[in-house]
Protein backbone atom coordinates (compact mmCIF):
# COMPACT_ATOMS: atom_id res chain seq x y z
CA UNK A 1 0.00 0.00 0.00
CA UNK A 2 1.23 3.45 -0.64
CA UNK A 3 0.34 5.02 2.69
CA UNK A 4 -0.85 8.56 2.15
CA UNK A 5 -0.44 8.16 -1.57
CA UNK A 6 3.19 9.17 -1.89
CA UNK A 7 3.84 9.85 -5.52
CA UNK A 8 0.49 8.64 -6.81
CA UNK A 9 -1.40 11.62 -5.58
CA UNK A 10 0.07 14.36 -7.71
CA UNK A 11 -2.22 14.08 -10.70
CA UNK A 12 -5.83 13.26 -11.48
CA UNK A 13 -4.65 11.04 -14.28
CA UNK A 14 -2.82 8.63 -12.00
CA UNK A 15 -4.25 5.52 -10.42
CA UNK A 16 -2.58 4.23 -7.25
CA UNK A 17 -1.64 0.53 -7.11
CA UNK A 18 -4.90 -0.23 -5.31
CA UNK A 19 -6.95 1.52 -7.90
CA UNK A 20 -7.66 4.85 -6.23
CA UNK A 21 -7.40 8.25 -7.82
CA UNK A 22 -6.05 10.13 -4.82
CA UNK A 23 -6.63 13.60 -6.18
CA UNK A 24 -10.35 12.85 -6.25
CA UNK A 25 -10.24 11.46 -2.72
CA UNK A 26 -8.38 14.56 -1.52
CA UNK A 27 -10.98 16.79 -3.14
CA UNK A 28 -13.49 14.89 -1.00
CA UNK A 29 -11.42 15.75 2.08
CA UNK A 30 -11.65 19.45 1.21
CA UNK A 31 -15.42 19.01 1.36
CA UNK A 32 -15.22 17.20 4.70
CA UNK A 33 -13.56 20.24 6.23
CA UNK A 34 -16.32 22.58 5.15
CA UNK A 35 -19.38 23.52 7.16
CA UNK A 36 -22.31 21.12 7.30
CA UNK A 37 -24.77 21.15 4.42
CA UNK A 38 -27.85 19.00 4.64
CA UNK A 39 -31.09 18.36 2.89
CA UNK A 40 -34.31 16.40 3.38
CA UNK A 41 -36.92 15.47 0.82
CA UNK A 42 -40.36 15.75 2.36
CA UNK A 43 -43.78 14.88 1.05
CA UNK A 44 -44.41 18.43 -0.12
CA UNK A 45 -40.92 19.61 -1.01
CA UNK A 46 -37.20 19.66 -0.27
CA UNK A 47 -35.48 21.66 2.44
CA UNK A 48 -31.77 22.58 2.34
CA UNK A 49 -29.70 23.91 5.21
CA UNK A 50 -26.10 25.07 5.56
CA UNK A 51 -23.96 25.72 8.61
CA UNK A 52 -22.05 28.74 7.37
CA UNK A 53 -18.90 29.00 9.49
CA UNK A 54 -17.98 32.66 10.00
CA UNK A 55 -14.28 33.25 9.81
CA UNK A 56 -14.40 36.92 10.82
CA UNK A 57 -16.45 38.91 13.30
CA UNK A 58 -16.79 41.80 10.87
CA UNK A 59 -18.74 39.82 8.26
CA UNK A 60 -22.11 41.31 7.46
CA UNK A 61 -24.73 38.84 8.67
CA UNK A 62 -26.64 37.24 5.84
CA UNK A 63 -23.93 37.92 3.30
CA UNK A 64 -21.81 35.40 1.40
CA UNK A 65 -24.69 33.03 0.98
CA UNK A 66 -23.92 29.36 0.45
CA UNK A 67 -27.34 28.47 -0.92
CA UNK A 68 -28.30 29.75 -4.34
CA UNK A 69 -31.18 29.37 -6.74
CA UNK A 70 -30.15 27.78 -9.99
CA UNK A 71 -33.48 28.33 -11.74
CA UNK A 72 -36.97 29.08 -10.53
CA UNK A 73 -37.58 25.40 -9.88
CA UNK A 74 -34.12 24.39 -8.63
CA UNK A 75 -31.56 25.43 -6.07
CA UNK A 76 -28.24 24.31 -4.64
CA UNK A 77 -26.53 24.34 -1.25
CA UNK A 78 -22.78 24.02 -1.39
CA UNK A 79 -20.02 23.25 1.05
CA UNK A 80 -16.26 22.79 0.90
CA UNK A 81 -14.22 25.36 -1.00
CA UNK A 82 -16.69 28.22 -1.39
CA UNK A 83 -15.32 29.54 -4.71
CA UNK A 84 -15.54 26.03 -6.19
CA UNK A 85 -19.13 25.75 -5.00
CA UNK A 86 -19.90 29.06 -6.71
CA UNK A 87 -18.39 27.77 -9.94
CA UNK A 88 -20.63 24.70 -9.76
CA UNK A 89 -23.71 26.88 -9.19
CA UNK A 90 -22.73 29.07 -12.15
CA UNK A 91 -22.48 26.05 -14.41
CA UNK A 92 -25.81 24.69 -13.20
CA UNK A 93 -27.41 28.05 -13.99
CA UNK A 94 -25.97 27.92 -17.48
CA UNK A 95 -27.29 24.39 -17.98
CA UNK A 96 -30.77 25.45 -16.89
CA UNK A 97 -30.74 28.52 -19.12
CA UNK A 98 -29.46 26.61 -22.12
CA UNK A 99 -32.09 23.89 -21.70
CA UNK A 100 -34.86 26.47 -21.40
CA UNK A 101 -33.62 28.31 -24.45
CA UNK A 102 -33.31 25.14 -26.53
CA UNK A 103 -36.33 23.07 -25.43
CA UNK A 104 -38.65 25.75 -24.17
CA UNK A 105 -39.27 24.00 -20.89
CA UNK A 106 -37.74 23.89 -17.42
CA UNK A 107 -34.90 21.40 -17.14
CA UNK A 108 -36.05 18.13 -15.50
CA UNK A 109 -34.33 16.96 -12.32
CA UNK A 110 -32.73 13.85 -13.79
CA UNK A 111 -31.29 15.72 -16.74
CA UNK A 112 -29.85 18.56 -14.66
CA UNK A 113 -28.33 16.06 -12.24
CA UNK A 114 -26.90 14.03 -15.11
CA UNK A 115 -25.38 17.08 -16.83
CA UNK A 116 -23.81 18.28 -13.60
CA UNK A 117 -22.44 14.80 -12.97
CA UNK A 118 -20.75 14.80 -16.36
CA UNK A 119 -19.37 18.27 -15.74
CA UNK A 120 -17.90 17.44 -12.34
CA UNK A 121 -16.55 14.13 -13.64
CA UNK A 122 -14.73 15.88 -16.48
CA UNK A 123 -12.47 17.61 -13.97
CA UNK A 124 -11.33 14.22 -12.71
CA UNK A 125 -10.12 13.15 -16.14
CA UNK A 126 -7.49 15.63 -17.27
CA UNK A 127 -4.01 16.46 -16.14
CA UNK A 128 -4.46 20.16 -16.61
CA UNK A 129 -7.35 20.63 -14.19
CA UNK A 130 -8.19 19.62 -10.64
CA UNK A 131 -11.46 18.26 -9.27
CA UNK A 132 -13.82 20.72 -7.57
CA UNK A 133 -13.29 20.86 -3.81
CA UNK A 134 -16.99 21.24 -3.15
CA UNK A 135 -20.08 19.08 -2.83
CA UNK A 136 -23.51 20.48 -3.56
CA UNK A 137 -27.01 19.42 -2.65
CA UNK A 138 -29.42 20.02 -5.50
CA UNK A 139 -33.14 20.43 -4.89
CA UNK A 140 -35.39 20.33 -7.96
CA UNK A 141 -39.06 20.24 -8.76
CA UNK A 142 -40.21 18.60 -11.96
CA UNK A 143 -43.17 16.85 -13.58
CA UNK A 144 -41.84 13.32 -13.29
CA UNK A 145 -40.37 13.10 -9.81
CA UNK A 146 -42.27 15.85 -8.07
CA UNK A 147 -39.54 17.00 -5.72
CA UNK A 148 -36.04 15.51 -5.78
CA UNK A 149 -32.86 15.89 -3.76
CA UNK A 150 -29.51 15.05 -5.34
CA UNK A 151 -26.01 15.07 -3.90
CA UNK A 152 -23.23 16.07 -6.34
CA UNK A 153 -19.74 15.05 -5.24
CA UNK A 154 -16.26 16.05 -6.52
CA UNK A 155 -15.75 12.62 -8.04
CA UNK A 156 -18.73 13.14 -10.30
CA UNK A 157 -20.89 10.77 -8.25
CA UNK A 158 -24.46 11.98 -8.32
CA UNK A 159 -27.19 10.19 -6.41
CA UNK A 160 -30.76 10.91 -5.48
CA UNK A 161 -31.43 10.84 -1.74
CA UNK A 162 -34.29 10.91 0.69
CA UNK A 163 -32.04 12.97 2.94
CA UNK A 164 -28.33 13.47 3.37
CA UNK A 165 -25.54 15.60 4.81
CA UNK A 166 -21.99 16.59 3.84
CA UNK A 167 -19.21 18.48 5.56
CA UNK A 168 -18.27 18.65 9.23
CA UNK A 169 -20.44 16.57 11.52
CA UNK A 170 -22.11 14.80 8.62
CA UNK A 171 -22.12 11.40 10.29
CA UNK A 172 -24.08 12.66 13.28
CA UNK A 173 -26.34 14.65 10.98
CA UNK A 174 -26.97 11.65 8.74
CA UNK A 175 -27.89 9.53 11.74
CA UNK A 176 -30.45 12.13 12.76
CA UNK A 177 -31.80 12.36 9.24
CA UNK A 178 -32.03 8.59 9.01
CA UNK A 179 -34.14 8.54 12.14
CA UNK A 180 -36.47 11.10 10.60
CA UNK A 181 -36.71 9.30 7.30
CA UNK A 182 -37.26 5.92 8.95
CA UNK A 183 -39.94 7.26 11.25
CA UNK A 184 -41.47 8.89 8.21
CA UNK A 185 -41.86 5.72 6.21
CA UNK A 186 -45.35 6.85 5.21
CA UNK A 187 -43.82 9.94 3.68
CA UNK A 188 -45.73 12.39 5.80
CA UNK A 189 -42.93 14.68 6.97
CA UNK A 190 -43.85 18.21 5.98
CA UNK A 191 -41.42 20.92 4.96
CA UNK A 192 -42.37 23.13 7.89
CA UNK A 193 -41.38 20.38 10.31
CA UNK A 194 -38.29 19.50 8.31
CA UNK A 195 -37.06 23.11 8.56
CA UNK A 196 -37.21 22.88 12.33
CA UNK A 197 -35.45 19.52 12.32
CA UNK A 198 -32.69 20.78 10.04
CA UNK A 199 -32.04 23.80 12.21
CA UNK A 200 -31.94 21.57 15.26
CA UNK A 201 -29.48 19.20 13.61
CA UNK A 202 -27.22 22.04 12.47
CA UNK A 203 -27.09 23.51 15.95
CA UNK A 204 -26.65 20.19 17.72
CA UNK A 205 -23.84 18.97 15.48
CA UNK A 206 -21.99 22.28 15.47
CA UNK A 207 -18.51 21.81 16.87
CA UNK A 208 -17.92 24.08 19.87
CA UNK A 209 -14.31 24.54 18.85
CA UNK A 210 -15.39 26.27 15.65
CA UNK A 211 -16.13 29.92 15.46
CA UNK A 212 -19.50 31.48 15.19
CA UNK A 213 -21.81 30.37 12.44
CA UNK A 214 -25.01 31.24 10.67
CA UNK A 215 -27.64 28.76 9.69
CA UNK A 216 -28.96 29.29 6.17
CA UNK A 217 -32.23 27.63 5.26
CA UNK A 218 -33.91 27.42 1.89
CA UNK A 219 -36.64 25.31 0.43
CA UNK A 220 -38.66 24.43 -2.61
CA UNK A 221 -42.12 23.22 -1.75
CA UNK A 222 -45.84 23.64 -2.23
CA UNK A 223 -45.79 26.46 0.25
CA UNK A 224 -43.24 28.37 -1.78
CA UNK A 225 -45.31 27.80 -4.90
CA UNK A 226 -42.88 25.26 -6.29
CA UNK A 227 -40.15 27.90 -6.43
CA UNK A 228 -36.76 27.75 -4.76
CA UNK A 229 -36.82 30.37 -2.02
CA UNK A 230 -35.28 31.20 1.30
CA UNK A 231 -37.37 29.85 4.13
CA UNK A 232 -39.64 32.73 5.23
CA UNK A 233 -38.08 34.84 7.94
CA UNK A 234 -40.58 34.02 10.68
CA UNK A 235 -40.33 30.27 10.16
CA UNK A 236 -36.54 30.39 9.95
CA UNK A 237 -36.29 32.46 13.12
CA UNK A 238 -38.73 30.16 14.89
CA UNK A 239 -36.72 27.12 13.83
CA UNK A 240 -33.48 28.66 15.03
CA UNK A 241 -34.98 29.70 18.33
CA UNK A 242 -36.25 26.18 18.90
CA UNK A 243 -32.88 24.78 17.90
CA UNK A 244 -31.04 27.01 20.36
CA UNK A 245 -33.52 26.10 23.08
CA UNK A 246 -33.10 22.40 22.40
CA UNK A 247 -29.36 22.86 22.67
CA UNK A 248 -29.67 24.57 26.02
CA UNK A 249 -31.94 21.82 27.24
CA UNK A 250 -29.30 19.31 26.24
CA UNK A 251 -26.64 21.34 28.01
CA UNK A 252 -28.73 21.52 31.12
CA UNK A 253 -29.46 17.81 30.95
CA UNK A 254 -25.74 17.07 30.67
CA UNK A 255 -24.72 19.46 33.42
Amino acid sequence: MSGIGTGYDLSTTTYSPDGKVFQVDYAGKAVDNGGLALGIKCKDGVVLGVEKLLAFKMLVPGSNRRIAAVDRHAGMAGTGLAPDARAIVTRARQECAQYLSFYGDRIPAKILADRMAHYLHMFTLYWSVRPFGASTLLAVKDHELGYALYLLEPSGEVQRYFGTAVGKGRQAAKNEIEKLVKADAAGSLSCRDAVKHLARIVYSTHDEKDKAFECELSWICDQSGGEFRRVPKELAEEAITLAKAALEDDDMADA
Binding site: T14, Y15, W127, G156, R160
Partner: protein
Protein backbone atom coordinates in the same frame (compact mmCIF):
# COMPACT_ATOMS: atom_id res chain seq x y z
CA UNK B 1 9.64 9.32 -4.94
CA UNK B 2 9.26 9.29 -8.71
CA UNK B 3 12.74 9.31 -10.11
CA UNK B 4 11.75 10.22 -13.64
CA UNK B 5 11.86 7.33 -16.09
CA UNK B 6 12.86 4.08 -14.52
CA UNK B 7 11.15 2.25 -11.73
CA UNK B 8 8.87 5.12 -10.68
CA UNK B 9 7.41 7.02 -13.53
CA UNK B 10 5.75 4.21 -15.44
CA UNK B 11 3.29 3.94 -12.58
CA UNK B 12 2.14 7.53 -12.97
CA UNK B 13 1.17 7.82 -16.57
CA UNK B 14 0.50 5.14 -19.12
CA UNK B 15 3.98 4.41 -20.35
CA UNK B 16 5.66 1.04 -20.48
CA UNK B 17 7.54 -0.40 -17.55
CA UNK B 18 10.90 -2.04 -18.30
CA UNK B 19 9.10 -5.40 -18.29
CA UNK B 20 6.62 -4.14 -20.85
CA UNK B 21 3.66 -3.64 -18.52
CA UNK B 22 1.23 -0.74 -18.41
CA UNK B 23 0.81 -0.27 -14.68
CA UNK B 24 -1.80 2.48 -14.93
CA UNK B 25 -4.06 0.21 -16.96
CA UNK B 26 -3.62 -2.57 -14.41
CA UNK B 27 -4.51 -0.15 -11.62
CA UNK B 28 -7.65 0.83 -13.49
CA UNK B 29 -8.71 -2.83 -13.30
CA UNK B 30 -8.08 -2.71 -9.54
CA UNK B 31 -10.27 0.38 -9.29
CA UNK B 32 -13.12 -1.59 -10.86
CA UNK B 33 -12.71 -4.43 -8.40
CA UNK B 34 -12.53 -2.03 -5.48
CA UNK B 35 -16.19 -1.12 -5.99
CA UNK B 36 -17.11 -4.61 -4.75
CA UNK B 37 -19.81 -5.49 -7.27
CA UNK B 38 -19.95 -8.48 -9.63
CA UNK B 39 -21.86 -8.80 -12.90
CA UNK B 40 -22.55 -11.83 -15.07
CA UNK B 41 -23.49 -12.09 -18.74
CA UNK B 42 -24.75 -15.26 -20.46
CA UNK B 43 -25.69 -15.85 -24.09
CA UNK B 44 -28.25 -18.44 -25.11
CA UNK B 45 -29.56 -19.63 -28.43
CA UNK B 46 -32.19 -16.93 -28.70
CA UNK B 47 -31.50 -14.58 -25.81
CA UNK B 48 -28.79 -12.78 -23.86
CA UNK B 49 -29.01 -12.02 -20.18
CA UNK B 50 -26.94 -9.74 -17.93
CA UNK B 51 -27.20 -9.76 -14.16
CA UNK B 52 -25.63 -7.38 -11.68
CA UNK B 53 -25.77 -6.69 -7.97
CA UNK B 54 -27.75 -3.74 -6.72
CA UNK B 55 -25.75 -2.70 -3.68
CA UNK B 56 -27.01 0.30 -1.74
CA UNK B 57 -24.71 0.98 1.22
CA UNK B 58 -26.47 4.14 2.39
CA UNK B 59 -30.08 3.81 3.59
CA UNK B 60 -30.75 7.39 2.64
CA UNK B 61 -30.11 6.80 -1.06
CA UNK B 62 -33.21 6.55 -3.22
CA UNK B 63 -32.95 2.99 -4.64
CA UNK B 64 -34.87 3.97 -7.78
CA UNK B 65 -31.92 6.11 -8.80
CA UNK B 66 -29.32 3.34 -8.53
CA UNK B 67 -28.73 1.31 -11.66
CA UNK B 68 -25.92 -0.33 -13.61
CA UNK B 69 -28.04 -1.29 -16.61
CA UNK B 70 -28.31 1.17 -19.45
CA UNK B 71 -30.16 1.31 -22.73
CA UNK B 72 -27.71 2.45 -25.35
CA UNK B 73 -30.31 2.13 -28.06
CA UNK B 74 -33.71 0.50 -27.84
CA UNK B 75 -32.13 -2.79 -28.84
CA UNK B 76 -28.65 -2.58 -27.32
CA UNK B 77 -28.19 -2.81 -23.58
CA UNK B 78 -25.12 -2.31 -21.46
CA UNK B 79 -24.26 -3.59 -18.03
CA UNK B 80 -21.43 -1.56 -16.53
CA UNK B 81 -19.27 -2.44 -13.53
CA UNK B 82 -16.89 0.01 -11.90
CA UNK B 83 -16.86 3.62 -10.73
CA UNK B 84 -20.20 5.39 -11.30
CA UNK B 85 -18.86 8.67 -12.66
CA UNK B 86 -16.70 6.84 -15.21
CA UNK B 87 -19.65 4.59 -16.11
CA UNK B 88 -21.80 7.66 -16.73
CA UNK B 89 -19.18 8.98 -19.13
CA UNK B 90 -19.01 5.67 -21.00
CA UNK B 91 -22.80 5.44 -21.31
CA UNK B 92 -22.94 8.93 -22.76
CA UNK B 93 -20.20 8.11 -25.30
CA UNK B 94 -21.82 4.84 -26.32
CA UNK B 95 -25.20 6.51 -26.80
CA UNK B 96 -23.60 9.24 -28.84
CA UNK B 97 -21.77 6.80 -31.08
CA UNK B 98 -24.88 4.71 -31.61
CA UNK B 99 -26.97 7.78 -32.46
CA UNK B 100 -24.33 9.12 -34.82
CA UNK B 101 -24.11 5.80 -36.63
CA UNK B 102 -27.90 5.64 -37.04
CA UNK B 103 -27.95 9.19 -38.39
CA UNK B 104 -25.06 8.66 -40.77
CA UNK B 105 -25.84 5.20 -42.14
CA UNK B 106 -29.58 4.92 -41.68
CA UNK B 107 -29.65 1.68 -39.71
CA UNK B 108 -29.02 0.67 -36.10
CA UNK B 109 -25.43 0.12 -35.06
CA UNK B 110 -24.54 -3.58 -34.68
CA UNK B 111 -23.52 -4.60 -31.16
CA UNK B 112 -20.07 -5.81 -32.12
CA UNK B 113 -19.31 -2.63 -34.01
CA UNK B 114 -20.36 -0.42 -31.12
CA UNK B 115 -18.31 -2.50 -28.74
CA UNK B 116 -15.24 -2.27 -30.98
CA UNK B 117 -15.58 1.50 -31.40
CA UNK B 118 -15.85 1.94 -27.62
CA UNK B 119 -12.81 -0.28 -27.18
CA UNK B 120 -10.90 1.95 -29.58
CA UNK B 121 -11.78 4.96 -27.42
CA UNK B 122 -10.57 3.17 -24.32
CA UNK B 123 -7.31 2.33 -26.06
CA UNK B 124 -6.66 6.03 -26.66
CA UNK B 125 -6.63 6.67 -22.92
CA UNK B 126 -3.98 3.99 -22.48
CA UNK B 127 -1.71 5.71 -24.93
CA UNK B 128 -2.15 9.38 -24.10
CA UNK B 129 -0.91 10.88 -20.87
CA UNK B 130 -3.52 13.61 -20.70
CA UNK B 131 -6.35 11.27 -19.72
CA UNK B 132 -6.59 8.27 -17.45
CA UNK B 133 -8.25 4.97 -18.38
CA UNK B 134 -11.91 4.71 -17.34
CA UNK B 135 -12.58 2.43 -14.38
CA UNK B 136 -15.49 0.76 -16.13
CA UNK B 137 -15.98 -2.75 -17.49
CA UNK B 138 -18.86 -2.85 -19.97
CA UNK B 139 -20.91 -5.75 -21.26
CA UNK B 140 -22.88 -4.91 -24.39
CA UNK B 141 -25.83 -7.15 -25.30
CA UNK B 142 -28.13 -7.26 -28.30
CA UNK B 143 -29.63 -9.45 -30.99
CA UNK B 144 -27.69 -8.89 -34.19
CA UNK B 145 -29.54 -9.17 -37.51
CA UNK B 146 -26.93 -11.47 -38.95
CA UNK B 147 -25.21 -13.06 -35.98
CA UNK B 148 -28.08 -13.53 -33.58
CA UNK B 149 -27.62 -13.05 -29.82
CA UNK B 150 -24.40 -11.17 -28.98
CA UNK B 151 -22.53 -10.52 -25.75
CA UNK B 152 -19.42 -8.32 -25.86
CA UNK B 153 -17.23 -7.20 -23.00
CA UNK B 154 -15.02 -4.08 -22.99
CA UNK B 155 -12.30 -3.37 -20.48
CA UNK B 156 -10.12 -0.34 -19.63
CA UNK B 157 -7.24 -1.75 -21.64
CA UNK B 158 -9.18 -1.31 -24.86
CA UNK B 159 -9.74 -5.03 -25.26
CA UNK B 160 -13.05 -6.18 -26.66
CA UNK B 161 -14.26 -9.61 -27.61
CA UNK B 162 -17.49 -11.60 -27.90
CA UNK B 163 -18.44 -14.12 -25.24
CA UNK B 164 -20.73 -17.06 -24.70
CA UNK B 165 -20.66 -16.18 -21.02
CA UNK B 166 -18.52 -13.85 -18.95
CA UNK B 167 -18.26 -11.85 -15.79
CA UNK B 168 -16.89 -8.55 -14.52
CA UNK B 169 -16.10 -7.15 -11.11
CA UNK B 170 -14.66 -8.33 -7.86
CA UNK B 171 -15.60 -12.04 -8.21
CA UNK B 172 -14.82 -12.17 -11.88
CA UNK B 173 -12.46 -15.12 -11.77
CA UNK B 174 -14.68 -17.33 -9.61
CA UNK B 175 -17.65 -16.55 -11.84
CA UNK B 176 -15.73 -17.41 -14.98
CA UNK B 177 -14.72 -20.74 -13.45
CA UNK B 178 -18.38 -21.46 -12.66
CA UNK B 179 -19.50 -20.47 -16.14
CA UNK B 180 -16.84 -22.53 -17.86
CA UNK B 181 -18.33 -25.62 -16.29
CA UNK B 182 -21.86 -24.74 -17.33
CA UNK B 183 -21.22 -23.48 -20.80
CA UNK B 184 -19.12 -26.11 -22.50
CA UNK B 185 -19.00 -28.38 -25.46
CA UNK B 186 -19.34 -27.67 -29.14
CA UNK B 187 -22.80 -26.28 -28.74
CA UNK B 188 -21.82 -23.94 -25.94
CA UNK B 189 -23.48 -20.56 -26.16
CA UNK B 190 -26.07 -21.89 -28.55
CA UNK B 191 -27.94 -24.32 -26.38
CA UNK B 192 -29.66 -22.41 -23.58
CA UNK B 193 -33.23 -21.30 -23.95
CA UNK B 194 -34.36 -18.05 -22.32
CA UNK B 195 -35.09 -19.53 -18.92
CA UNK B 196 -31.82 -21.45 -18.80
CA UNK B 197 -29.89 -18.36 -19.83
CA UNK B 198 -31.40 -16.26 -17.08
CA UNK B 199 -31.12 -18.93 -14.44
CA UNK B 200 -27.51 -19.76 -15.30
CA UNK B 201 -26.61 -16.10 -14.89
CA UNK B 202 -28.46 -15.67 -11.60
CA UNK B 203 -27.27 -18.95 -10.08
CA UNK B 204 -23.71 -18.10 -11.07
CA UNK B 205 -23.96 -14.83 -9.18
CA UNK B 206 -25.48 -16.54 -6.16
CA UNK B 207 -22.81 -19.19 -6.17
CA UNK B 208 -19.83 -16.82 -6.31
CA UNK B 209 -21.30 -14.48 -3.72
CA UNK B 210 -22.00 -17.45 -1.50
CA UNK B 211 -25.42 -16.20 -0.47
CA UNK B 212 -29.02 -16.42 -1.53
CA UNK B 213 -30.06 -13.22 -3.22
CA UNK B 214 -33.33 -11.36 -3.00
CA UNK B 215 -34.92 -9.84 -6.06
CA UNK B 216 -34.34 -6.28 -4.87
CA UNK B 217 -30.58 -6.91 -4.64
CA UNK B 218 -30.41 -7.82 -8.32
CA UNK B 219 -30.82 -6.14 -11.66
CA UNK B 220 -31.51 -8.48 -14.58
CA UNK B 221 -31.46 -7.22 -18.14
CA UNK B 222 -32.46 -9.23 -21.17
CA UNK B 223 -32.85 -9.20 -24.94
CA UNK B 224 -34.53 -12.01 -26.90
CA UNK B 225 -35.08 -12.76 -30.56
CA UNK B 226 -38.85 -12.39 -30.01
CA UNK B 227 -38.47 -9.03 -28.29
CA UNK B 228 -35.24 -7.34 -29.29
CA UNK B 229 -35.74 -4.39 -26.97
CA UNK B 230 -33.41 -4.32 -24.00
CA UNK B 231 -35.45 -4.45 -20.83
CA UNK B 232 -35.09 -5.14 -17.14
CA UNK B 233 -37.01 -7.99 -15.56
CA UNK B 234 -39.51 -6.94 -12.92
CA UNK B 235 -38.90 -8.05 -9.36
CA UNK B 236 -41.80 -10.53 -9.55
CA UNK B 237 -40.26 -12.31 -12.50
CA UNK B 238 -36.85 -12.29 -10.82
CA UNK B 239 -38.47 -13.79 -7.74
CA UNK B 240 -39.92 -16.61 -9.86
CA UNK B 241 -36.50 -17.40 -11.26
CA UNK B 242 -34.91 -17.32 -7.81
CA UNK B 243 -37.54 -19.72 -6.53
CA UNK B 244 -37.05 -22.03 -9.49
CA UNK B 245 -33.30 -22.04 -8.87
CA UNK B 246 -33.62 -22.83 -5.19
CA UNK B 247 -36.11 -25.63 -5.88
CA UNK B 248 -33.80 -27.09 -8.43
CA UNK B 249 -30.85 -27.19 -5.99
Amino acid sequence: MSRGSGSGYDRHITIFSPEGRLYQVEYAFKAIKSVGVTSIGVRGKDSVCVVTQKKIPDKLVDPADVTHMFKITKVIGMCATGKSPDIRNVVQKARHKAAEFRHEFGYEIPVDFLSTRMADEFQVYTQHAYMRPMAAMCMFVGIDEEKGPCLFKNDPAGYCVGYKATSAGVKEQEAINFLEKKVKGENAGNAFDETETIQTAISCLQSVLGEDLKSKELEVGIVTTENKNFRLLSSDVIEEHLTAISERD
